[in-house]
Structure formats: C-alpha cells, structure tokens
Amino acid sequence: MPQPLNDSTSIYVPQPCTLLEVSDLTPQEKLFRLCLDSGGELGQQPGQFVQVSIPGLTEAPISVANSPTRRGYFELGVRKAGTLTGAMHQLQPGDTLGIRGPFGRPFQLAALVDKEVLLIAGGCGLAPLRSLIQYCQDRPGDFKSVHILYGARSPQDLLFKEDLENWQSSETFSCRYIVDKSPGSSCYDGETGLITRLIGALEIDSKNGCAVVVGPPPMYRPVIAELRRLGLTGKRQIMLSLERQMRCGIGKCGHCTIEHLYCCTDGPIFWLEEIEHLRGAL
C-alpha cells in the first residue's frame, strides 16, 4: 500500500487563492480571475477543473476558463446555481477562496494537431471551451483550421461577448454563434435557431476533422447526430466534456461515476466512443 503524504498536508486541503477581478458575463454568470497565494501557476491544461472551496459551503467543481498560455492568473466562469456558486457571486476582488486541483483528463490536444478543429459549445459550456480556444489562438500554426460554433438560449445568455467578437475578427478562427430564441424587443441581429444548424452549414474535410463538444446534457445527442451527418464517423473524431456532481475530484467520492468510469479522473473529457455505449453517459 502507498504511504500517505506527510501529516501536514492532505489531498483534501485546499490552497488559498485571491480574487483579482470579477466581471459580469450575463445576469446569471460571472467571470472570476484569481491567482494562487503561493505565487505559482495553477498549471492546468485546457479542459481541467478545480474544486472551489468556501468554508461552510463545502466545494464545487468548476472548469478553468482560460488557457495556461495566459500566465499569472486563472479564470473561472461561474453560473449562479447552488449555494456555493451563489456565495461566489457575492465575492469582491481581494477576497480569498480555497482551490484544489487542477483535476481531470484535459482536452486531447495532440489529437487536434493539423486537424480541421470544430469547437462547439452550448450555454455555459463556452467557459471550459474558452481555455481551448485561447490555447488555439496562442498556437495558430498547430491546426489546419479552427471553427468555433456557439449556441445560447437567448441574446442575453451569450457568454464572453467581447471574446466572441474578437474571435470573429481573428484570422485564426471562423466563429459563428446562434441563439435559440430572440425576443422581439432585443437589439440582437444575429442568427437564431439551434446550434445544429451551424454545424450543418459547415464545409470541412470530414476525414481530417475533429470536434470538441461542451454543453448541457440535452445538447449532446442532436449535436453528435449532426456531426455524424457531416462525416465525423470515425474513432477519435468527437471529444466531449461531461459534467457530473463531483465531491472530491480524485475518483473517491463516487458521485460522478458513469458505469465503471469516474468522470473526474477518467474525464471530464472523453472520446465519444469511450462512453457512447455506457448507460446514462449521454
């Protein structure tokens, strides 16, 4: 049996970090920029997550929203959903938080090299995907092409609006976004409909394509079907990020199991073929 760590620390002990900046993304979502009090880098890879700890409210898993190529800080995009995320929304710059991680299997970057890369996000899924988008932006030569497709419920639910504009104008990417519904009153003049419409409109060399999909659970099946119609039918062509309740982040608490897999250590990023046949995965 392995020996435990020394008594002064534990894998369950969070490390302190300080909030540098908070910005509103939507009425429900905020972006938090943090740095470790130790002064070190978080050392995340795109797609990994951290356990955010607030004394009294336990912990919640949150994906890191920026690329490790942007150094000196890390960012978390957080929707107000439960008690802990609700409390996070009350925090001000200078406040401290606890962090454990980064945890989890990241996006398989090597598999994207020289590919026509499709980065597809729905709703809050843009936060974790943003880490990969930034990564691609910072290493433009690594990929044949990068297409960003993003769908949100309504214009006011669109995350990272400035980033979206920046990506749209960037030469590295093609970037389109769409909203399910736009109330007549809004000044939104972009596209409306489901994200599958954007996928259907793509023209890519499907043999050399690789898609990365991050979104809410109901989004996966229709998006996967559309990607298959596009010709992404082979192995290692579709990568997904699955979200589950996670209490520990290290494969112990059992809340994130998908049959024999642990979403927190075997995932959250999976190849479609690894999980497609598992009950309850999608």
């Binding site: 369950y12 002990v13 004394p55």
Partner: protein
C-alpha cells in the same frame, strides 16, 4: 511458520498486541449484536455470526473529519490517532472487503486520509471452526497479518507476512497435516449465494435484465439507504461543513446512491433520476462496473445488505431473482 495455541494463548497474544495497537475484538453488545469492540481484557466472543458493523468502518467511519479551516481560511488536515488499529475476528470475506477498499483508496491519486488510519494497522483473521454454532469459516489466502484458525480444542496460528512472525515466535509449532485438512475443506467450501451472484453477474453483463425488473425491485425499496451503509465495499461519501466561531470542520459522511440527490446537480439534471435507475446502479455497479474497473466484483458476499434491508431486496435476494427469472435454460 505454523503455531499451535490454546485459548489462554489467544488472550496472551491479544494482550501483547493491545499494548501497541487500538485493539478491537468480537464482542456482544447489550442486545446480543456481535461486533468488534475495544478490548478491556474481558471475555472475547470467539465464535459466531460475522461482526455486524463492517470492518472498513474503522478506517472510513460514517462521519469522518477531513480538515479544519480556521477563520482566516487556513486549512489543516484532521489529526488521526497515533496508535494504529488492530482488528481481530475477521473472516475471509471481511478481509476481502478490506483488500477491496484498500485498493480503491490507494488507487492514484491515493486517499491519504484513509491511508493514514490504514497504514500500520494489524488485521487478524479468525477462521476455521469459528462461525455461528462453531460452523466452518474458510481459511484466508493472504490479506491479513495474522490468522487464528479454530480447530476445536486448540488453535492454529500463522502470520500472513514476515513482519508479523514475531508475534507468534514463542508458541509451539502447529500440525501441518491438520492445516492441510482445513485447506482442503476450504477449497471445497461454497458460499450459499455464490452461484446466484455469479449467474446474475453474467446475465447483467449480457444485458439480459430488462428495465421493468429494476422498476419492480425499486418499487419494493423504502429508501432507507441501509444497503449502502452496511456494505463494506461501498465507499461513496458526501462532504459536510460545520461552521463555528473557531472555524469550519469539513467532514466526509457515508453516502448512498439510492438517494435522489446522490447525482442530482444544482441545475436539476440527474443522471440517476429515477428509483429504477438507482436500484439498477446498486447491483450493476458491484457486479459489472467493479469487475470492469478493478478486475473483481464489488460484492464480497458478506450478506450485510440483505440483513440491513427491511424489504428483502439485498444483493443475495436480487441476484437470486435475476438468476431464477432471466437465466436461459441450457440448450437441449
């Protein structure tokens, strides 16, 4: 090294062990429940039903403080008692459960909190004619530091590892032939539920159990969570914070996959959102998912969930129903 002990020697041996360990021995609680208890030199219950409390609870208790966070946000891991545990009275099944749990918590990244209690602990098997009404308990294959084998009038003792040899050094040698007899008996020993569980495992792997079956079993469940809490290989936990003026104590607490909130996310999304899915998970995880991941089933056949279940849908009962209802009769 095989030794021969009489009952008085057991007390002597345990007395020496108790000097350096927190020794737990089988005893009877007020209502006759047999379980492992701290030893104060009193009579030990050397024969009987397996201890009711799962042995893994000593290293992974129901409520288990992980760390303390002071009001400034500084976190320190919870201290663990200096003296390690010595557990006496474990049969081969309970030792298998401990081995399963050890491997689970040791799997990288290792759970240091579990290992802090587990490392240095002494596991002492109790086998041979030490079962209920002096019935037979098969001998242990590894998994323990010491093994005491009840042979009727006397006891055989052996060490499971070199480092435990010294405990037995001064006892006279035991009869190897007697051991061989008991080993043969162990090889022939069959667990009453093994066939059903094996067959259920096969049928589940072949996807021969329809969803309607899980709905039916789930409708019999009164959601007590006892199956999970009694199971020695159930390791799922939730985390609770308790805040006082002096800081926050963060603990892990035994959880149950039979609860709706087990996988429910803040958004309301719930991958285990129905009773039928949760009931299926309870059985399927032990019999199919665990073998897939760890190479062996998560059910060690201890029967504790069957005993704890108020409506008779523990593992043995469900396996028996699966086996009797969905087994394809062999071709002519």
């Amino acid at each position: 090294m095989l030794k021969r002990l009489v009952e008085r020697d057991i007390y002597d041996l345990l007395g020496r062990i108790a000097d350096s360990y927190r020794l737990r021995v089988p005893g009877l609680l007020d209502d006759g429940t047999r379980t492992l208890l701290p030893w104060d030199g009193q009579q030990i219950s050397l024969f009987g039903e397996p201890p009711q409390r799962k042995p893994t609870a000593y290293f992974f208790p129901q409520t288990d403080p992980l760390l303390k966070i002071d009001p400034r946000g500084q976190a320190t891991p919870a201290a663990v008692a200096e003296k390690p545990f010595a557990l006496f009275g474990l049969d081969s099944i309970d030792l298998a459960a401990l081995a399963f749990t050890d491997r689970f918590f040791s799997n990288p990244p290792p759970d240091d909190h579990y290992l802090r209690r587990r490392n240095g602990a002494l596991l002492i098997g109790l086998t041979g004619y030490a079962g209920p009404s002096r019935g037979f308990l098969p001998l242990v294959k590894g998994n323990c530091d010491l093994e005491l084998i009840a042979c009727g009038e006397y006891w055989l003792a052996r060490a499971g590892c070199k480092s435990a040899d010294h405990w037995l050094a001064h006892y006279p040698p035991g009869d190897q032939e007697q051991l061989a007899v008991l080993q043969r008996e162990s090889a022939q020993w069959n667990h009453r539920a093994a066939v059903d569980v094996q067959q259920a495992m096969e049928l589940l792997r072949q996807d021969m159990v329809p969803d309607s079956f899980w709905e039916e079993i789930a409708s019999r469940c009164i959601l007590c969570s006892g199956c999970n809490l009694a199971c020695p290989t159930c390791t799922c936990f939730c985390v609770q914070d308790r805040q006082t003026a002096t800081g926050t104590v963060r603990s892990r607490v035994w959880d149950s996959c039979q609860l709706d909130a087990f996988m429910r996310e803040a958004s309301g999304h719930n991958p285990l959102g129905t009773e039928a899915l949760r009931t299926r998970r309870r059985i399927y995880h032990k019999l199919v998912a665990d073998p897939e991941r760890w190479g062996e089933p998560g059910c060690v056949l201890c029967g504790r969930c069957d005993r704890a279940c108020p409506t008779g849908i523990g593992m043995f009962a469900v396996a028996k129903e699966i086996a009797s209802r969905f087994a394809i009769s062999s071709p002519d």
